[in-house]
C-alpha cells in the first residue's frame, strides 16, 4: 500500500479531546437509564395512568414442537380476549375462587407480544429478553420444550419477571432447576410414572423387558428415569436405553437394534414430531406385529397429546400413555373451554393450549388477588393457591416447588374414533393423591423473592 505524505496525523491532544467528547455522548444513555430506574419500583412496572399491560408469549413456531406452539398461541390469544371481557368468557365462568372481573387485569387492558423460541435455548432467551427489555412485558409464558422452559425460567428469575411455564414435562422444571419466579401448571414425568404404573401392571403384567428410546435433553432424561423407576418397581427389566437427538427425523437406525435385543416392550420418550416419526417408523418396522418371549410386542408413549395423535394416525391406536388434560372431559370447566375454543378456531384445544390458557388466567387472577403487579406479591398469591373449575378438578399450586397437583389422565389411542379429533380414550383418571410426591426428592432451590 502506498504511503501518502499528505496523510493527516492526529496529534495526541486532539485525539484525547475527541475521545472525551465521544465518551460523554456515549454515556448519556446511562444517565437516562438512571433517571428512569429511580421512578420505578420493579422492572416494567406499569406507569401511573397506563391503560394497558403487556404479556409475552414465547412459543416454538418452527422445529419439532411447532404444532404445539401454534396451538399454545391460539390459547393465549383466547385467554387475553376473555380477560379483556370479550368473547364468551370460557373458563372464567367456571374458575373458582376467582377475582377476575372481565375488564382486563387490575383495570388495565391486556396486550401481548409473541416470539419464536425455535426450540433452542439461545433463541428462546434472546426472544424473552427482547420481550422484557424492549416490549416491557410483566409476565412470560409458553414453551414446548423443557430445555427451553428451564433456560427461560432461569433468565426470568435473573430479570425479575414472572414465568408461567407452558408445556414442560421434565421433573427438573420444578425439581432441581426450580425458580421462585417460575410456575408450572402442567404435570411432570414423575407423575406420569406414578399414574401409568398400575395400568401397565394390569395390562402387561410384571414380567416384561423394556427398551427405551429417549430424547436427548432434560425432559427425556427425567422421563426415562421416572418410567424406569416405575417399571422396575413392577418387576420389569430394562434391556437398554438409547438417547436420540431432538428433531432427528429418521429413527430407523435406532429401531433396527430393538428387533434383536430380546425386548418385548418399547418405551418412546419422544414428543411432538419426533414421537410421530419414531412411532410411525416402529410400526412400519413391524414391531407391533411381533411376538417376543411369548408375548405381544407393546409400545408405550408415556406423554401423549392429541396433536401428536393426529400426526401419527392409525399407528397410535391402542397405545397407552398419559396426558395432562383432554378435550373429551365432561366437567364444566373443560366443556366451557372446548366450546369457546371451538367457536373461535373450529377445532378442539390440545393439552398444550389448555395449560397455557389456564396459566394466563392464573397469573391474572393472582395479580387481582395481590392487588398489584409487583412480582413478589403475585408469587405469594400463587404459592399454595387452591382452585377448581379449570378442567382438572381440585388443583393446588404447591408452595414448596411451584408445581400444580391435580388428577392425571391415563389414555389409549382410540381404536374406533368417531371424529377426526376423537383420538384418545381415557382409560383412567388417576387421583391426585396417587401421583403426589415429596417436594424435597429432586433437590434444587427456589431462590429469593426480591431480585
Amino acid at each position: 500500500m502506498k504511503n501518502d505524505n499528505k496523510t493527516p496525523t492526529l496529534d495526541r491532544r486532539g485525539f484525547l479531546k475527541a475521545s472525551v467528547a465521544t465518551g460523554l455522548a456515549a454515556s448519556s444513555p446511562f444517565f437516562i437509564q438512571n433517571a428512569f430506574a429511580k421512578g420505578e419500583t420493579f422492572r416494567n412496572a406499569p406507569k401511573a395512568g397506563a391503560k394497558t399491560i403487556t404479556l409475552g408469549f414465547n412459543v416454538p413456531q418452527t422445529g419439532a414442537y411447532a404444532d404445539e406452539g401454534a396451538d399454545e398461541l391460539r390459547a393465549f390469544k383466547l385467554a387475553v380476549k376473555h380477560l379483556n371481557g370479550e368473547g364468551d368468557g370460557g373458563m372464567m365462568n367456571t374458575f373458582k375462587p376467582s377475582a377476575l372481573k372481565g375488564n382486563g387485569v387490575l383495570g388495565k387492558k391486556v396486550a401481548f407480544v409473541t416470539g419464536d423460541t425455535q426450540t433452542k435455548s439461545d433463541a428462546a432467551r434472546a426472544s424473552a429478553k427482547r420481550m422484557i427489555e424492549k416490549d416491557g412485558v410483566l409476565m412470560i409464558s409458553g414453551g414446548s420444550s423443557s430445555g427451553v422452559a428451564i433456560a427461560v425460567q432461569g433468565l426470568c428469575q435473573e430479570m425479575g419477571t414472572m414465568f408461567m411455564a407452558g408445556l414442560t414435562h421434565s421433573n427438573d422444571t420444578t425439581g432441581k432447576d426450580k425458580r421462585r419466579y417460575g410456575f408450572r401448571h402442567f404435570f411432570n414425568a414423575k407423575m406420569t410414572g406414578s399414574a401409568l404404573g398400575p395400568v401397565l401392571k394390569e395390562e402387561m403384567g410384571t414380567d416384561r423387558k423394556a427398551y427405551h428410546l429417549t430424547s436427548d435433553y432434560t425432559w427425556g432424561w427425567t422421563q426415562e428415569e421416572s418410567i424406569k423407576e416405575t417399571t422396575e418397581g413392577l418387576g420389569w427389566k430394562t434391556v437398554k436405553t438409547v438417547k436420540t437427538p431432538v428433531g432427528a427425523g429418521d429413527f430407523s437406525q435406532y429401531i433396527t437394534p430393538i428387533l434383536n435385543s430380546g425386548a418385548d416392550t418399547l418405551i418412546l420418550n419422544h414428543y411432538g414430531k419426533d414421537m410421530i416419526n419414531s412411532l410411525t417408523q416402529s410400526v412400519q418396522f413391524g414391531l407391533r406385529d411381533k411376538q417376543v418371549n411369548g408375548k405381544n410386542f407393546e409400545i408405550i408413549v408415556p406423554l401423549y397429546s392429541r396433536l401428536m395423535a393426529q400426526g401419527a394416525g392409525k399407528n397410535l391406536q391402542g397405545i397407552l400413555g398419559t396426558t395432562n388434560w383432554n378435550w373429551a372431559l365432561t366437567d364444566e370447566g373443560s366443556k366451557a373451554f372446548v366450546k369457546s375454543f371451538g367457536k373461535e378456531y373450529g377445532n378442539p384445544p390440545s393439552q398444550a393450549a389448555h395449560t397455557c390458557y389456564v396459566q394466563t388466567l392464573l397469573y391474572a387472577n393472582a395479580c387481582e388477588v395481590a392487588g398489584t403487579f409487583y412480582p413478589p406479591e403475585v408469587i405469594k398469591a400463587l404459592e399454595g393457591f387452591k382452585f377448581d373449575g379449570m378442567g382438572n378438578g381440585k388443583t393446588e399450586y404447591r408452595a414448596e416447588d411451584h408445581q400444580c397437583f391435580k388428577d392425571v389422565l391415563v389414555v389409549r389411542g382410540n381404536e374406533k374414533p368417531t371424529s377426526q379429533f376423537d383420538l384418545l380414550k381415557i382409560v383412567k383418571q388417576v387421583p391426585r393423591s396417587a401421583v403426589e410426591y415429596d417436594a424435597k426428592i429432586f433437590g434444587g432451590d427456589l431462590g429469593p423473592y426480591k431480585v
Binding site: P8, T22, E133, I150, E158, D216
Partner: protein
C-alpha cells in the same frame, strides 16, 4: 477529503468508536436500542470481524467457525463455575482455549484448500457439535445447556471471600455487575472490546502480514513458486480468527451465563458466512453491517405480528390497510427467513461486493450529483484500501 480520512487510522477509529458507542441513541428510531440486541450486535460484530480476517483476506471459506464460538462459551461458563464470576479470566481463557483448538483444527484443515478446506472445517464443526450435544454431556450438559449454579466451587471468589448465599450469582467485571444499568453496562463492555477487536483487524489489514494474506487469496501458487511458505501465514490467520470467535463466545456467556450446543451447529457457522458476504467480504466495515442487518431481522422482523402490522399501516384506508397487511405478513414473523433470503439473493446477484459495494456506488452517485470532479478516484481508493481485488487489478500503477 475521503482519502485523507480513510488513510488515517486514528481518525477511522475515532469515527468508528463514536458510531459504536452512540448506538443506543441512533438505533432508537429502528426500535433496536434495547440492551440485548445491542449486545448481540457488538458480540456478533466481533465474530464477523474476526471471520473476515480469514475469509476476507485469504479467501479460505471456513464452514466451522461456530465451533470456536461454542468452545469460547463453554470455557467461559466453566470459568464462572470453577474460578470466579469475574468475566476477565473467563474471556481470556475462552480466547486461549479456542485458540488452541484453532491450532489443531487449522493445522489439519489447512492441508487442503478451496472446497476441500470448507468441507474439512464443516466436518470438524459437526464433530464438535455432536460431541457437545451428546458424547460430552458431563462437560456440556447436552441439549439443556451448561448453566451456573449456586453450589459451584468458584475457587478464586472463595479465596477473595465472596460467598454466594442468595440464588445464582451474576457475572461482573471487578465488582460491577454486567447486567447493571438495565443491561447497558454489558453492551459497553462488549462495545469497547469490539472497538479493540476492530482496531487489531484494521492493523492487520494494513500490515505486511495482511498483504501476504491477500497475496495468498490472489494467487497462492505463484507465491509458492517464488519460494514463499504460505502455511504459517494461513495458520496464523486461522488461529487469530478462531480467537476472535472465542472472544465472542466468551462474551456471549459473560452477558448470559449459559452455553448450549446449538451455538456450534452448522447453521451458526453459516450465519457468520452470510453476515460477511452480505456486508462485503474483505472490507473492514462490511461484516459489521452484515451482522447488524441479520441480527436486526432475526430479532425485530421475527417478532412482528398482524396486529402490529395493522398499526403500522394505520395511516391507510381500511381496505388498503388489509391488503398491505396480507401482502407483508408472510415476510415477517415466522417468515423472516424468507425476507432475509430475498435480501441475500438481491445482494449477491446485484452487489457481489455486498452492502459495501452498494454504499460505494451510492457515494459515487452522490459525488457526481454534487459535481465534485475527480471524485471517482477517491472512492475507488476507499475500496482499494480494503478490498484486495481492486487493489491488485485496478491500481497496480498507483501502488
Amino acid at each position: 477529503m475521503f482519502k485523507k480520512i480513510l488513510a488515517s487510522n486514528p481518525l477511522i477509529m475515532l469515527i468508528f468508536s463514536a458510531v459504536v458507542l452512540s448506538a443506543p441513541i441512533w438505533l432508537a428510531p429502528f426500535g433496536a436500542n434495547y440492551p440485548d440486541l445491542l449486545q448481540k450486535f457488538a458480540i456478533f460484530g466481533i465474530f464477523a470481524v474476526g471471520y473476515n480476517i480469514l475469509f476476507g483476506l485469504t479467501g479460505y471459506l471456513s464452514f466451522g467457525h461456530a465451533t470456536f464460538l461454542g468452545i469460547g462459551s463453554y470455557t467461559a461458563v466453566w470459568s464462572f463455575k470453577l474460578l470466579t464470576m469475574n468475566i476477565l479470566p473467563a474471556i481470556v481463557l475462552a480466547m486461549i482455549v479456542s485458540g488452541l483448538f484453532a491450532v489443531v483444527i487449522g493445522y489439519l484443515s489447512l492441508r487442503r484448500s478451496g472446497i476441500y478446506f470448507s468441507i474439512l472445517t464443516l466436518a470438524f464443526a459437526q464433530m464438535a457439535y455432536s460431541l457437545a450435544y451428546s458424547v460430552l454431556t458431563p462437560i456440556t450438559n447436552g441439549e439443556t445447556g451448561l448453566q451456573v449454579s449456586q453450589q459451584d466451587p468458584r475457587v478464586l471468589d472463595a479465596m477473595a471471600g465472596i460467598a454466594v448465599t442468595d440464588g445464582i450469582p451474576s457475572t461482573n467485571l471487578f465488582g460491577a455487575l454486567i447486567k447493571s444499568q438495565g443491561g447497558y453496562y454489558g453492551f459497553y463492555v462488549a462495545a469497547v472490546l469490539l472497538i479493540i477487536a476492530f482496531y487489531i483487524s484494521l492493523k492487520i489489514f494494513r500490515s505486511p502480514f495482511g498483504m501476504k494474506l491477500r497475496a495468498i487469496k490472489s494467487n497462492q501458487t505463484r507465491m509458492k513458486y517464488t519460494g514463499f511458505n504460505t502455511k504459517p501465514y494461513l495458520l496464523t490467520a486461522f488461529v487469530i480468527s478462531g480467537m476472535y470467535a472465542g472472544l465472542a463466545g466468551g462474551l456471549l456467556a459473560s452477558i448470559d451465563p449459559l452455553a448450549g450446543a446449538e451455538r456450534m451447529q452448522w447453521t451458526a457457522s453459516g450465519e457468520v458466512v452470510l453476515m460477511t458476504i452480505l456486508g462485503g467480504v474483505g472490507t473492514l466495515i462490511g461484516p459489521l453491517l452484515g451482522t447488524t442487518l441479520i441480527k436486526y431481522f432475526e430479532n425485530i422482523f421475527s417478532a412482528l405480528n398482524d396486529s402490529e402490522l395493522h398499526s403500522m399501516f394505520s395511516f391507510m384506508p381500511e381496505g388498503l390497510q388489509n391488503i398491505m397487511v396480507t401482502v407483508v405478513s408472510p415476510f415477517v414473523g415466522e417468515g423472516w427467513h424468507l425476507t432475509l433470503g430475498l435480501v441475500f439473493m438481491i445482494v449477491v446477484i446485484f452487489l457481489p461486493g455486498g452492502i459495501m459495494q452498494g454504499l460505494t456506488h451510492l457515494f459515487n452517485f452522490v459525488k457526481r450529483l454534487v459535481g465534485l470532479g475527480g471524485s471517482n478516484k477517491v472512492i475507488d481508493n476507499m475500496a482499494a484500501n480494503d478490498t484486495p481485488n481492486n487493489t491488485l487489478n485496478k491500481h497496480k500503477g498507483e501502488a
